[in-house]
Each structure stands twice: as C-alpha cells, then as structure tokens.
C-alpha cells in the first residue's frame, strides 16, 4: 500500500462565530502513528473531522499524499475513519458492515467475501461474521469498526477516541493491538485522545492542542522532558511549577523562588523565565537541610503501592513528591518539617 503523509497548513475553522481551530500547522509523515492530545473541547475532533471532510470547510490547506483535499466530498477522500461510537450499522450483519465500503466501490461480490474474511481475520473475529452488531461486546464492536475501515485500504487511518468506550483493562489490550496492526499495515494513522498514557504508549509523535491551537509537536518523551510551555508541562504528567526568577552570575545560574530559596541550574541555562518545572520523581525528601534544598512541611500523604506520594508545602506552593516504596522505609508524618532536594540538572525553566 502506498503510504501517504498529511500536510495541514494554517487551517482555521469556525462554527458560526466561534473559532474552533486557529491556524493549525502540521506535517505528518507517511507511515507515522500520530496522536492529537488535548483537553475536552480543544478542537481535536474538529481537526480530525476536517481531514476526513466532515463539518464546515476550513480555511487553509489540507493535503493527503499528493492531493489537495480541502473542499473535497468525504466519499472522495479515501480516508478511513473510526468513530468514537464505532457507528456500526445495527441493521446489517458484521459481514455486511465490513463489506459495505467494497460494495460501494462496485467490487464484484466474489471478490468481496475473501477480502472481508481477511479483514476480520486481521482483527481476530472471523467467527463473528454472521452476528449482528448488537450481539457484540464493546471491544468486538471496536475491532469490527476497525476492520470495516481498513478493508477499503484507505491512504490514512483516523481514529477518534477509539478506546474511550472500553473498560480500563481492555483499553490497554486494544491499544497494543492497534499499534501492532498499524505497524503491520504501515498505515499513516492519527489517533485522537485526551488520555496522555494512550498517546504516550502508542504514538511516534504527538501534537498537544489547547483552545484550537497546537501547543507543541514532538515525540512523547521530548514533550515530557522539554515542554514548550506551562500548558504542555502541566498537561503531560504531574508537574510542580515554582514561581520565581532566574539569576545569572557568570557561568553559574540559579533559580530563586518567591520564598527566596535558591536552586542551582545547569550551566548555560537561559536567563529569562519565571517558572521552573520539577517532576515529582526528581525530588528527594530529607530531614536535614542541604545544598539545593527547599524547606517545607508535609501536608498530606498517600500510599499508592509501589510509591508514596507526598504533598508538601514549599517554595510558596504545594509540591507533589513521589518516593518509591520499599520494605522498612519510614514515612514522613503529616506536619513534619522536611527539606526537598531537587535534581535540577534537567529542570525546565519557562
């Protein structure tokens, strides 16, 4: 199958007076597994639907492979979309559902059957071919919806929160399966989700959206380690954000918090920025004061199994600290005065 990339250039879209997409630019590479991540209402679905040709026609440019598809009818785009609700047609058997697209392409019936069987085989549900959709579990419906879409060999695959209607354990299993299938077919795929774990575990790259604007694009790890702004920092994982200022003193740089505590920064840190982002696992709790440490008070603690999560008041804010738990480790009691030592070698100043 030919692999197609997707280029989105300066796409604007409004529903009436509400601007929903405000100048989106993206370059999705052929064969890539790409995720749109963002909070509810950020415009993920709207963007995805614009690529498939649904909803109001946006301004800007959308190219799939070599074709400019803006304004093209959805049925002429050769884009496969899996809907959040699966949208299996309840009046057709699984086989008819999956064969629908091929029939629309006027493929002879004799050729449709083996193709449908192959697609069902791919998702491991050949034995359910003669069932009706309402006789399937959520996970099975999900796979049939997937089979129905890939059987027509689309150039790109669009998935709108495909796992959100499944329960937690099935979700983990299905996302692995999705990834396996994507790799096997080499299909350029966009996956919409508001669950960062889903995006992290599946995607090659992702775009974080907020308010109809792309905040940052990159690999999950890059976005986690080097968020471009506070929104991305807070949206991906737990982030402690301390306010203050950067003081540069020759080659030395340090971050001075509102409370006047100082944290040293790696050499060559940029001099502007009024926030420092510290991940919970990069902070240690000690009873004694020390270098690069903030004094604080334990407000709350939660036992999470492999970890203990503390909420500590320090540096003028409340800081989350995770300590890995092992037998015999003693806990800090609520109210205890402690000192937080932050590993700032990779800290991000924003």
């Amino acid at each position: 199958m030919e692999r197609a990339g997707i280029q989105i250039e300066d796409v604007h879209l409004s529903f009436g007076d509400t601007q929903v997409l405000k100048g989106v630019n993206l370059d999705i590479k052929p064969g890539e597994f790409f995720a749109f991540l963002g909070p509810s209402g950020s415009g993920k679905s709207t963007l995805l639907r614009a690529i498939a040709g649904f909803g109001p026609t946006p301004q800007g440019r959308i190219r799939i492979g070599e074709r400019d598809v803006l304004g093209l009818d959805p049925w002429k785009r050769n884009v496969g979309m899996v809907f959040q609700s699966y949208a299996l047609w309840p009046h057709m058997s699984v086989r008819d559902n999956v064969g629908f697209g091929l029939k629309e392409k006027k493929m002879p019936t004799a050729q449709i059957r083996p193709k449908v069987d192959a697609a069902l085989d791919l998702v491991g549900l050949q034995h359910l071919a003669d069932r009706m959709p309402n006789q399937l579990s959520g996970g099975q419906q999900q796979r049939i919806a997937l089979a129905r879409t890939i059987v027509v060999e689309p150039e790109v695959l669009l998935l709108d929160e495909p796992l959100s209607n499944l329960d937690a354990s099935l979700r983990v299993q299905m996302r692995r399966e999705l990834l396996r299938l994507q790799r096997q077919l080499g299909l350029t795929t966009i996956f919409v989700t508001h669950d960062q774990e889903e995006a992290n575990t599946t995607s090659d790259r992702m775009a974080v959206l907020d308010g109809g604007v792309i905040q940052q694009v990159g690999s999950p790890q890059a976005l986690y380690d080097a968020p471009a702004n506070l929104f991305v920092a807070k949206f991906l994982g737990t982030a402690n954000i301390l306010e203050g200022r950067v003081e540069v003193d020759g080659p030395e740089a340090r971050f001075v918090t509102k409370t006047g505590d100082e944290l040293s920064l790696p050499q060559g840190s940029k001099a502007d920025g009024s926030n420092i982002v510290l991940r919970p696992q990069n902070i240690e709790i000690h009873r004694e004061a020390g270098q690069n440490a903030l004094p604080g008070t334990v407000l709350h603690k939660e036992f999470l199994g492999s970890q203990i999560r503390y909420l500590i008041e320090a540096g003028g804010t409340e800081i989350v600290v995770d300590q890995s738990h092992s037998v015999g480790l003693d806990w800090y009691e609520v109210g205890a005065n402690v000192h937080l030592r932050a590993n700032t070698s990779n800290a991000v100043v924003l």
């Binding site: 679905s45 609700s85 629908f100």
Partner: protein, 584 residues
Amino acid sequence: MSQQTTTPAAVRAGLADRLPVWLVPRVSGLHVAALLIALMLVGLLLVPVAQVMIVAFQDPATGAATLQNFVDFFRTSLFRESFWNSFYVSAMSVVVATAIALPLAYITTRFHFSGSILIQSLGFIPLIMPPFVGAVAMQLIFGRNGTVNLLLKDNFGISIPFMDGLNGVILVQSIHYFPFILINLSASLRNIDRSMEEAAQNLGSHGMRLFRRIVFPLAMPGYIAGAALVFIKVFDDLGTPLLLNVNNMLAPQAFLRISSIGISDPMGYVISVILVVFSILSLWASFLFMRGKDYATVQKGGGGMARRTLKPGEKVLAYGVVIFILLVVLSPHLGLLLLSFGTIWSFAPLPDGYTLANYVTMWENSKTFIMNTVLYAGIAATLDVIIGTAIAYIVIRTRIFGRKGLDYLATAALAVPGVVLGIGYLRTFHSIDVPLLDKPLASWWVIIALALMIRRLPYALRACTAALQQVSLALEEAAESLGATKRRTIQKVVIPLMTGGILAGFVTSFATAAVELSATIMLVSSNNDAPLAYGIYLFMQTPSGRGAGAALGIVAVIVVAIGTIASQIIIERDKKLKSSGDVH
C-alpha cells in the same frame, strides 16, 4: 413536632385495624373505584365486543356454534370483493401516504430548510379534519368534473380518475393519514446519529444510495409504526367510503347490512370479526418486525442527523416538491372553504359566486347538531379524564390486584373499530330498556356519549398517565407525612398538580369525539339525537345541502383546531411551570 399531634388516620384507627388482614380485607375508596371502572369497562367494551364475536360464530336461527357465517361470507362475491377492496385501499393508502410523507420527513430532518417548522406543523393540519368532511370537497377539486380535471381537459384534453371509486378513498385517506407516517418517520430520522451516516460517507457512499442503504433502513422502525397505523385506520374507516358512495368495502358493508337488514343479520358481525382480527394482526406484525430493532442511535457527542445546506438547484427542487405536496394536502381544506362560501359549484373549476347564505342555512338547521355535539363530547371527555385519572393513579401508585388489567382493557379500545363498537352496542343494548323512558338503551342518546367515551378513553388515559408520572411521589409522601389522608392527598396535592395534563386530555378527547362518525352513525336513532358529524353526513347526502354541510364542516375543523392548539398550549405551559418549579 410534638408527641401529642395525632394523625387523622390514627384517630380513626378502630377495631378493624387491629384484626388480621384476612379477616377484614382493607377496602379503600380506591378499591371501590377500581371495581366500578372494571365493571364499566366490561359492560361497555368487553361485553359488546364479545357479543359481536359470539354472534359471528352463531347460527342465526338456532344459536348453535358454527363457521357457516364465515363460509357464507367468503361465498358471496360482493363480500369477497369488499374484502379485497378494503385490503387494496389500505395498502395503497400506505403507499401514497408514504410518497407524501417521505420527502417531507427527509427534507425537514436532513437539510437546513427554512420551511421545516412550517412543514412539521402543517403536517398536523390534515389530522384536525375528519377525513369524511374533506371527501366531498375533494370530489369537487379532483373529481371527474372537478377543478383539476376541468383544467386538464381544457388545456390538455385529458382527465385523470383521481376520485373514481376506490381511487377516491385512497386519495382522501392518504392525504388525511399521512401525518402518522410523517411524525413517526421524522422522529426516527432525528434519532439517527450523524456518525451512522458519516461512517457510510467515509466508506464512499452518498446521495440516494446512502439513503437507501443506511438512512432509510435505520428509520424503518418509525416508518413501520406509522404505516401500520395508517393501514389499520383506513381498513376500519367507515365515514370516507360512505360519503364517497363507495360501498363495496368491508366497513360500509357492515354498516349497510345492519342498517338495512337489521341486527340479526350475521354478516355485519362476520365483518366486524375480520376488522378486529386485521387490526390486531397488523399491530402484531409491526410489533414482530420492530422487535430487537431499537435503532435509536443518537450517542454521546452525536446529535441527530447531520443537516446539510441545500445547493441552489436542490433548493428549488426541494421547495417545488414541498409546495406541491402541501397544496395537495391542503386541498380538502381549501375545497371545503370554497364550498362553504360558494353559491353553486358544479362543472366549474371554482364556485359561480360567493355568499354567506350557507352559514345561515347551516346555523338554522344545525343548532341541534351542535348542541348535541357539545353535550355528547362534553360528557364523554369529562368521564374520560375522571376515569383516566383514576386508572392512572391506580396503576402507578397502588398495588391493587389486577390494576394492569384495567390499563390494558382501557387501552384495548384502540383496537376496536368504531363500526364494531357500534354494532356491539346495538346488539347488546337493544334488549335492555331504559327505565321510565320506555325505549331500548341502544336508541337512547346517552349511549352515543358512552360510546364516544370508550373510544377516546385510551387517549385520555395516556394524557393522565403522563401527567401523573410528572408528579413526584415525594410530594405525595410529604403530604401524607404531614397527616393528610390518602383521599385528601389525592384531592389537594395530586389532582391539582395533574391539572395541566388532565385539561389537555379533556380538550383532546372533546375535540376528537366531536367529529367522530363511525360509531355514532350506527347509534343515532333519530335526527334529533344526531351530533355534528352525523349532521355533516346528512347534509352531504344531497347536492343542495353541500354548501351548508361544508359550513358545518368548517365549524368542525375550527373546533378540532382550537382544541388541538389549546391542549398544546396547556401542555407547554404546564411543562414550563413544572420545570421552573424544579429549580427552586
């Protein structure tokens, strides 16, 4: 509250309350009411209908059980013909009604179409006119020498037999009953999640193919529900064929046999059995079809079918189709209006002149009809809401034994055609004399009111049930916990809160009872006892009476229209009142 406050119930607690239940069964006013209602339903619905069924299977001479009547029925070529005609007319009416309703439903639900609300409300207009009223006006417009054919003949030298024989019945019935399909189909279409359609478009489908393969099948349950109703209504209807002088159909045959040969002739009963069986069969068939097909697919984040903006060309086409259909649909009303204001209207596209004389004649000759109608429909609607409220309360709020049965029995009236009820009453009550009046109950005017009451009870019951369901049980319990007795709670809390719904039920029952013909036509024993619908029928029998008949028809239409609008307003206002009450 202090310990000394005793509830009235506690004050009355006497010996009976201290004895075991099995010794002194607790009989409340509600039990008595339930029993009375049950007796009434048995006497006025079950017995007459059972009587009809039994007579159909009896040898008229000996009274022995036999199938001979049915054999005779199917041996008579006129009856065989009537049977097929009824079937054919019903089926064709469904087809024509579909042709009218489908484009309207599709255009209004699927596109941004500025006339959508207009169409959806105009769709109700045919329902507010009894079909037989429009039938004569339709003759004048679409008949052999009617407006349309005269124009066709003059301009193209052709004529189309729209109104000849069965065609006329089909046309009148489908114009009248298509809203059943329109309403149900539109509701179904609106319940299709837009992702259902988009998934198909995504896979390369669009236009008519998309409609045929995805949209229409998904709307099928609503369509079938509407179509089954149309089929039954047309199959059972007596007024329209009678007015169009089409007698070779089942319901008119039943009427004619009973009214010309007498109530001992078994054929009327055989036909009644067939009518009832077909009503039940088609309801059952539609139920079977719809089982397991709850296709309401609107889902989280969905929101009905995606509406598309029409392209300019499509817009012209859509408006053309809609306007054409609306013209056809409104033609009986226009025709009736012209007829009522016309001097002479025959062999001409339009009346020769216009006058108010028809209304004067109508008023002079119809005072009794109108008074009777107000009396009968008033009695029927009052009883309907009283009984409807009682049944609703008993079914929803009590655990009285057999309460469901009460509900089913009252609702079963829906499946009983008016002709059948009429025949049943004649048969059952002709041998019972009214004390003091010295005439059979069957020919006393009260029986007409009772027949109307039974016929409209299912609708009133539904309105009352809906009203009661909106009264939260907590309000009732609050009153009881403050010491009110059951009876006072019902009087002071439940009924006032239900008022809106009850009133709406009353108005609907009244308006539709006012124009009912099929049961009344069998029970009217003298013109002095006749209601408005029968009056229209009488007027329309002679060409000279048509103008006045049309004027009376207009009165009927206005009565029903006001009733419908009033009940709509009452329901809306009630809803607002209740929802604003929820906020506090």
